[in-house]
């Protein structure tokens, strides 16, 4: 069942490219169906894990024996990521059906989208470190082409910047794969983790690998000293792609891989580097976002800031910190998806991204305005919404770990976040409607529908903290990370 997560998107990409001439709407339907199927499959995977008490499923690709061939692993952490990725992808696909009409080649867009989705699903389920590198590159290349999809000046420039930085990152990752292979003579993550935990690995090698991984995946996930590509790439891409990049791509390509390799393979338990980098991203992203005039650029800087929160929480390494990090990851994915779709709706109706020229859109686009308000409030941590609970947990985790000044910084930055989101609301949706937009209309039905679903989720995501729900979604994932290098022996027990 695990290979289906890669087969379905790749097969649908193939089918779209072959059958696109049969009917005009066929690519839309195929892409939506594939995403829906993937979402259902990820819930089925969660159910199957639940009834077997969260013992990981291991699939041997091609039937090769354990340390030799490529294995695919489905455990608590990967199933949580799969649900988030495929949910976001489904909503983004529904949004793009109407939104992508203004671009010339919608079929190519769907094909690339599906390949990007396949790379993310593959990255999440793979248990092989070189395979992970291959999926990283597939995701990077397809997302780079999607960023340059408009082929205008700024899109090409952003895409070039992104691809150069990303390839440098991948080169670092390939170098670390080579070092791991020469040190442990294995490419299987479970096997490497067993070898490293049995022997006493030299701290120089582990330190060097940690630095290489943090540099490589830090560029992919845009943590602050490596963030230069993100504020260009996210505004340049079409809105559903900005949403995909910001809410799942940098999380699965960057944060998930980093977590898996640092905690489960190298056996790092807590990392002060991650705490410091997280705080830096939080502060830099937050303060840079205040000065932005471009709507999507503001959201991009806000992403850097929120990624900082997530990295910071994981760096603490306590169970509460890991729980808070994962919970904030889920919350941020849906809130940022919603906000980028809103920005897409604004651009669709007005063709304008500069916030100084916008205003008063609330009268003409009520649904966009209402959902955008919910998204902003959730991400800046206003009580009933999901984002509040995750930020509260992150601050509690920091206090529990004895980092009082860091907790103070997190509180201040969450106030800063609220201030720039209020600025966004005031400049775009409230105030006086300029003359030239007197006769704009609300966006088409599919786009409205795809904005309402994440809005509803944003309101109710706080419920994930209820003990019964938490035991299904979050606790198994926390357990996987907390288990550290125990990952190897658990995989070994569950190979059939």
């Amino acid at each position: 069942m695990i290979p289906l997560f890669i087969i379905i998107p790749i097969a649908s990409a193939f089918l779209i490219s072959v059958l696109r001439k049969l009917h005009k709407n066929l690519p839309d339907i195929l892409a939506t169906l594939a995403c829906l199927l993937l979402l259902v499959l990820s819930f089925v995977a969660l159910y199957m894990l639940h009834i077997t008490n969260y013992k990981p499923f291991v699939y041997k690709l091609g039937g090769w024996e354990f340390p030799l061939g490529i294995t695919m692993v489905l455990d608590g952490l990967s199933v949580l990521m799969l649900i988030v990725v495929n949910f976001v992808a489904l909503i983004a696909i529904i949004f793009s059906i109407s939104y992508m009409e203004k671009y010339t080649d919608k079929n190519k867009y769907f094909i690339l989208f599906m390949i990007m989705l396949a790379s993310m699903n593959g990255l999440i389920t793979t248990g092989d470190i070189f395979n992970m590198y291959v999926f990283l590159e597939v995701g990077t290349i397809s997302s780079c082409v999607l960023i340059a999809f408009g082929t205008e000046k700024e899109e090409l420039e952003a895409s070039f910047k992104y691809l150069v930085l990303s390839t440098v990152a991948s080169t670092f990752i390939l170098l670390s794969v080579a070092i791991i292979y020469s040190y442990t003579s294995s490419l299987n993550m479970a096997d490497i983790s067993l070898t490293l935990s049995k022997g006493s690995p030299s701290s120089i090698v582990i330190g060097f690998l940690t630095v290489l991984f943090i540099t490589g995946f830090g560029i992919k996930s845009a943590i602050v000293p490596f963030h230069a590509w993100l504020p260009d790439a996210h505004p340049a891409a079409p809105a559903p792609i900005s949403a995909m990049l910001s809410s799942v791509l940098i999380k699965s390509l960057g944060i998930y891989s980093l977590l898996r390799l640092l905690f489960n393979v190298l056996g790092v338990t807590s990392s002060n580097i991650l705490v410091v980098l997280g705080l830096l991203s939080m502060v830099a992203g937050g303060f840079l976002a205040i000065y932005q005039k471009d709507l999507k650029r503001l959201l991009a800087y806000s992403t850097i800031s929120q990624i900082g929160y997530i990295i910071f929480a994981f760096g603490l390494g306590t169970p509460l910190g890991i729980l808070a990090g994962l919970f904030h990851l889920v919350n941020h994915a849906f809130a940022k998806l919603l906000l980028f779709l809103n920005s897409g709706a604004v651009v669709y109706a007005t063709e304008e991204r500069n916030m100084d020229n916008l205003g008063g859109l609330r009268q003409k686009m009520p649904v966009t305005a209402a959902t955008s308000l919910i998204g902003s409030m959730s991400i800046s941590g206003v009580p009933p919404f999901g984002g509040f609970w995750s930020k509260l947990l992150i601050i509690f985790a920091a206090i529990q770990a004895g980092k009082f000044s860091a907790a103070g910084i997190a509180i201040i930055i969450s106030i800063v976040t609220l201030s720039y989101y209020l600025k966004l609301q005031k400049k775009v949706f409230f105030g006086k409607l300029p003359e030239r937009w007197q006769n704009i209309k609300e966006v088409p039905l599919a786009m409205v529908f795809s904005m309402i679903i994440p809005a509803v989720l944003c309101v109710f995501l706080g419920l994930l903290l209820l003990p019964e729900v938490k035991a299904i979604f979050l606790d198994p994932a926390v357990e996987v990370i907390k288990n550290g290098v125990g990952y190897g022996s658990i995989i070994l027990q569950n190979i059939k």
Binding site: F130, V134, E137, I141, C144, V145, A148, T151, K153, E154, L156, E157, A158, S159, F160, K161, L163, V164, T167, V168, S170, T171, L174, L175, V177, A178, Y181, S182, L187, A228, P231, D232, A236
Partner: protein, 116 residues
């Protein structure tokens, strides 16, 4: 040992080109050099002095011991890495050509619609 050292030198040459050079094409060449340095490193890991290629054949069965062969896995990895590098280079060159059409220059100091 000198091989590994030269490999690091090659890596640094590529990184230098990416960081310092202002021409798009030179940046792409730097990236390729960096990839080749890592590929060379991978091959060096699998290399063994005086060893044969890792293929069993019907002739000379007696001398074919796995211990006398080089490690085949890094070679397979290098093949994959080369293909990925090719795909990246093709896309980068494609974007560079499009950028040249828009700006009539390869100089990144003049391609500055976006600011930090």
């Amino acid at each position: 040992m000198i091989d590994y050292f030269l490999c690091i030198v090659l890596f640094c040459v590529g990184l230098y080109a990416i960081l310092i050079k202002r021409n798009l094409i030179k940046i792409i060449i730097g990236l390729t050099i960096m990839e080749y340095a890592v590929n060379l490193f991978l091959v060096l890991i699998g290399y063994k002095y005086n060893a044969t290629f890792p293929i069993f054949s019907r002739q000379n069965v007696a001398t074919q011991q796995p211990l006398n062969m080089v490690d085949p896995l890094p070679q397979a990895m290098v093949l994959t890495a080369i293909i990925i590098g090719l795909a990246v280079t093709v896309i980068l060159v494609g974007i560079a050509i499009r950028l040249y059409e828009k700006y009539k220059t390869f100089d990144i100091a003049e391609i500055r619609k976006l600011k930090g």
